[in-house]
Symmetry: C2
Subunit: 222 residues, 2 copies
C-alpha cells in the first residue's frame, strides 16, 4: 500500500515535468509568433494552452486523491502541497504564453513590436527558456542549489524590463502609443513568466529542505 502510494506520488510529480515542458515550448513558440508575425504559430499556442489547463486539472485531482487516501508523512506531504502549487504556477505561465501569442495575432500581419524591442523579447524568451529548463531539472533532481540560482536569472529579466521602459519612455521612441502599450504589457507577461519559474524553484527547495530559499522573502514573495 505504502509502495503504491509512493509510486502514485512520483507519477504525479512526473506530470509536473510534462507540464513544464509544454509551457517551455509554448513560451518559445509564442515568442517566435510575436517576432515573426506568424499567425499559424500564434493560433497553435493559444489553442494548445488547453493541454496545459487539462494537465493542471489532472494534477490537482491526483493531489487531492493522494491527500484523501491517507495522511502523507512530512516529506511526502510537503511534496503533495508543493505539487499543488507548482501546477498552478505552470498553468499561469501557460496563460501568459497564450497572452503573448494573442498580441501577435491581434497585430497580424504587422509585427507587434519594433525591431529593437523585438531583440529584447528574443533575449527575454531565452532567459525564460533557461529558467523553465532549470526549474524542470531542479524538480527532477531535487536540486535545491540550482533552484536558488533561478533568482539571479530572474534579475536579468528584471534588468531587461527596466531597459525596455527606458527605451519606450525615452524621447527617441518613434513607434507611437500602440507599440508602447503592447511592449509594456508583453514585458509584464515575460516578467511574470520568470517570477512563476522562480516560484516553482522555491517549491522544490521547500520539498527538499522544508524551508524557503535563503535570502528570499518566502513564501510571501509570490
Amino acid at each position: 500500500m505504502r509502495e503504491s502510494y509512493h509510486d502514485e506520488l512520483n507519477a504525479t510529480s512526473g506530470r509536473i515535468l510534462t507540464m513544464a515542458e509544454l509551457v517551455r515550448v509554448a513560451v518559445k513558440d509564442a515568442t517566435a509568433a510575436l517576432i515573426g508575425a506568424d499567425l499559424t504559430t500564434a493560433e497553435r499556442v493559444i489553442s494548445d494552452d488547453s493541454k496545459v489547463d487539462a494537465l493542471n486539472e489532472e494534477i490537482e485531482r491526483r493531489c487531492f486523491d493522494l491527500l484523501a487516501r491517507q495522511a502523507p508523512v512530512a516529506g511526502e506531504l510537503r511534496t503533495v502541497v508543493a505539487v499543488l502549487r507548482m501546477c498552478y504556477e505552470l498553468a499561469r505561465m501557460g496563460d501568459l504564453a497564450a497572452h503573448v501569442a494573442k498580441i501577435a495575432r491581434l497585430r497580424f500581419p504587422e509585427v507587434a513590436v519594433p525591431p529593437q524591442v523585438a531583440d529584447q523579447f528574443v533575449e527575454m524568451s531565452k532567459i525564460a527558456d533557461s529558467m523553465i529548463s532549470k526549474a524542470e531539472k531542479t524538480l527532477a533532481d531535487r536540486d535545491a542549489e540550482a533552484a536558488e540560482s533561478l533568482a539571479s536569472e530572474d534579475s536579468k529579466m528584471d534588468d531587461l524590463r527596466r531597459e525596455q521602459f527606458r527605451l519606450l519612455l525615452g524621447d527617441d521612441w518613434a513607434y507611437g502609443v500602440e507599440s508602447a502599450v503592447d511592449t509594456a504589457l508583453l514585458g509584464r507577461y515575460y516578467e511574470r513568466i520568470a517570477d512563476h519559474a522562480v516560484a516553482v524553484g522555491s517549491r522544490v527547495i521547500y520539498i527538499v529542505t522544508g524551508e524557503g530559499p535563503a535570502g528570499e522573502d518566502w513564501p510571501s514573495a509570490y
Copy 2:
C-alpha cells in the same frame, strides 16, 4: 480531538476573511492614492502589503499543520485545499494593490493618469471592492450562488478595460506614451484583481459542492 480539529479549521478560514478585508482596503486606498497623487497613502499601501504576506504565510502553515495532523474527511479536506489556494489568490491581490500604489508614487507629485482615465479607475476600484466584499460574504456564509454572480461583475471589469483600450489607442489620446503605458499596466492590475476575486469565489463553490462553478472553465480558468 475531532472537535478541536474542526475549531482550528474554522479559525484558519476566519483568517482568510481578515486577509480579504485587508486586501479590500488596500485596493481602495491604492486607488485613492492614484487618483489624488497622495504619496503618504501610496507609501502606506506599499508597506502594509507585508501584513497581507504575513497572513498568507500564517495561513499556509496552519493548513499544512491541519493536513499533517490527520487526514481530514472529504468536506474538510476540500476546505483546507481551498483555503491554501485562496490565501495565495489574496496575496496576489495585495501585491497588485501595491503595484497600483507604486505607480502613484512613481509619478508623484503628478497624477499618473488623465482625468477621463481616472474616472474609469474609480469605477474599476468600486467593482473590485464589491467583488471582494462578495467573495468575503460567500466565504463567511458558504453561499455558492453569490460566488457565481462574481463572474458577471468580472465581465463589467473586462468591459471597462476594453473601453479603456479604445480610449488610449484612439486618435484623440493627447497624453503621450507614458500615461498610455501607465494606464495599460494599471488596467491589467485591476483586471487581475477581479480575476483573483472570481477565483476565490470559485473555491467557495468547490468547498460547498465539490464542483467547479457552472458554465465556467474550472479549475483551468485560473
